[in-house]
């Protein structure tokens, strides 16, 4: 087996074949499916969910995960928060010439482990190799297929008083990745929250029929995701800043750089809007899972029509939260 990815690994010839066989099939299985251009999947008469996402991250390995784990967990979470049970994944790789095959193997193994853990089968894939300098290491696209199970959906029927729950501390992924780039010159114990949430969210949906909506606050963070919900469904939502769980270390780095944790990316958190009467039950269920142990109610829907998100500051005043405005750059002093 070669040490580095070369352009020939993407030309469809022998090296491509060996790459597929020795790296992807070795990890994902499904040798027979790989014989054909498309995988045949039996879905019966179920309503299915399809989602796709591309993963571009630097560094590709970071505390708490890798681009591979992220590519599987991220797509699984997109299905899970939609109320679908993730079933199949496809994956497309764009690899830069010169990429270490040993690193590719690690990434693929992370994908296989995450898929196995979540009961998802990786059924098809594609590999392209581009010239050195045309990409940054490796990019992965994953497409996920899930099944909507009866009586396991979100109602989207919001009411005043509905509770907003977040499944744990926010901003961990954003800070872990930033620190892992090594550009900050800081060492932080923060690890990414990268995790698949399907099992946990499935338990939530089983327990109550009053879940209004679920979302995973990835890029743009908690604030941007909540603003989107508020605007899309014309709701006035209010969160209490003091109730939003943020690790002290994340606060510390944010203070240093002038970042707001409400806008940092998360890769293993869910926002759940649920009828007030069921909020405690949902929090209890979330807390039974490691990825939901810090779940907490952070606010509620306080009205309809306006489509805005407010935050109550620790001093008791309120302010408006908006979407993230472009990339957050660290401040000068």
């Amino acid at each position: 087996m070669e040490k580095y990815i070369s352009l020939a690994h993407g030309d469809g010839g022998e090296l491509s074949h060996r790459l597929i066989k020795d790296v992807f099939i070795e990890a994902f299985g499904g040798e027979n499916a790989a014989l054909f251009d498309a995988a045949a999947i039996t879905i019966s008469t179920h309503k299915i969910a399809v989602t796709t996402d591309s993963f571009v991250i630097k560094p590709i390995f970071f505390p708490g995960g890798s681009i591979g784990k992220l590519a599987v967990a991220g797509t699984i979470n997109d299905l899970a928060v939609s109320g679908a049970k993730p079933a199949f994944l496809t994956c497309g790789f764009v690899i830069e010439e010169g990429f270490l095959i040993s690193d590719l193997k690690k990434i693929v193994l992370d994908m296989a482990n995450e898929a196995k853990k979540t009961g998802v089968t990786i059924v098809a894939g594609d590999t392209k190799v581009v010239e050195r300098g045309s990409a940054d290491g490796v990019y992965i696209n994953t497409t996920g297929i899930g099944i909507f199970e009866p009586n396991m959906d979100c109602s989207l029927e919001f009411e005043e008083g509905d509770a907003i729950i977040v499944s744990g501390t926010i901003g961990d992924h954003g800070i872990a990745v930033l620190a892992a780039r090594g550009e900050l010159g800081i060492i932080t114990p923060i690890t990414s929250d990268c995790a698949s949430l399907n099992t946990m969210l499935s338990e939530v949906l089983k327990s109550t029929d009053s879940v209004r909506i679920m979302r995973d606050p990835t890029r743009g963070g908690l604030a941007t995701t909540l603003v989107e919900i508020a605007e899309d469904f014309h709701l006035t939502m209010k969160i209490n800043e003091l109730d939003v769980p943020v690790k002290e270390e994340v606060h510390g780095v944010c203070d240093l750089l002038g970042f707001d944790p409400l806008y940092l990316a998360n890769e293993g958190k869910a926002i759940i809007v649920v009828a007030s009467c069921d909020k405690d039950k949902v929090v209890d269920i979330l807390r039974e899972f490691p990825e939901g142990r810090d779940a907490v109610v952070i606010g509620s829907i306080i009205g309809k029509g306006k489509g805005q998100l407010l935050v109550k500051t620790p001093l008791g005043s309120s302010r408006l939260l908006t979407r993230l405005s472009g990339t957050m750059f660290p401040r000068i002093c």
Binding site: G185, D255, G258, G316, R319, L320, I332, C333
Partner: protein, 370 residues
Amino acid sequence: MLEILKQSNNPEICKPLVEVVIEVAKEFRQKFGRKPAFMEVCGSHTMSLARTGVKQCLKDHVHLISGPGCPVCVTDQRSIDAMIALAEGEQRIICTFGDMMRVPGSSKTLLDSKIAGKDIRVLYSPVDAVKIAEENPDKEVVFLGVGFETTIPILTLMIGEAEKQGITNFSIWMTTKLIEPVLRYLLDTGEVQLDGFLLPGHVSIVLGEDSYQYLVDEYSISGVITGFETAELLSGIYKLIDMALTGKVGIENNHPAVVSKSGNQVIQQWMDQYLTECDEAWRGIGVIPQSGLDLKPEYDRFNAKKRFSVDVGDPKKTKCRCGEVIRGLISPNECPLFGKACQPMNPIGPCMVSAEGSCAAYYQYMRESF
């Protein structure tokens, strides 16, 4: 340390403090017939006061004016144009703090130039610029030296490092600012009625408490050096009102854990070794004599302004009133562009861009207060 910081933001401590500040502010109003007016010099103070809700809680009782302490906001439009033009040169790598990327010049931003293919890099640790120069001997690496006393020492550190390693393809485009000359300018012009200053925590670590004595001796105005946590800011405001009520004029150090009387002597020596005072242009103000620092002539080889010729015309005029915001003459929302043509995604002036900018703070945290 974390526990102390946590306490400093603890609402059980901060909420009563707000009440106490409002009480003394009412006393002030009774005595003088107006609200007390203080300037928070530092951009990070502005952000902190808005984000934590202090500004909103006190807006009916204390006039808090954002000052000229955001390094991006005070950068002259011509300097910004020059930095963008500098990036257009061939075989150059421009290194900068992130804040500068979206600041609009007359026709574009550094981010536009980067997207167009120019090699512009945002550094978290500025000293990395020297490393980049070492790794790219066929290119000229230029660091955009923007900032106050807080960041100036890092620039001297970079020069020291380049000198030590004998690197010849590294230079700094200096456009740094000093706090004292601009505070003197504001007080000399008397454009804004002030009862005191919330003095910057980070700058004061370098300068020390004693460096502000001129405020007392020459202008009879008080100052309180504060950090950035809610309780520190509130107690700083309280102390300023209290001094105004009792007729006392002085400099108080509300940040003693990190700010000493004479500042950081080592850093001051670095600055003396490499830098010399120079005239500097401030956005919306113009040139203030001896208000910046440039490299001493013996370090011309690290001075990008001496090494590269950059030709820029007069900056494009806009209706942006950042200059008046910086001088404390208007609040951001009094600018006709605020929140309309000028928004964080489409800033017209630098105050809407920077993580320390007054307009950005108002837009992000205080729009609903208007």
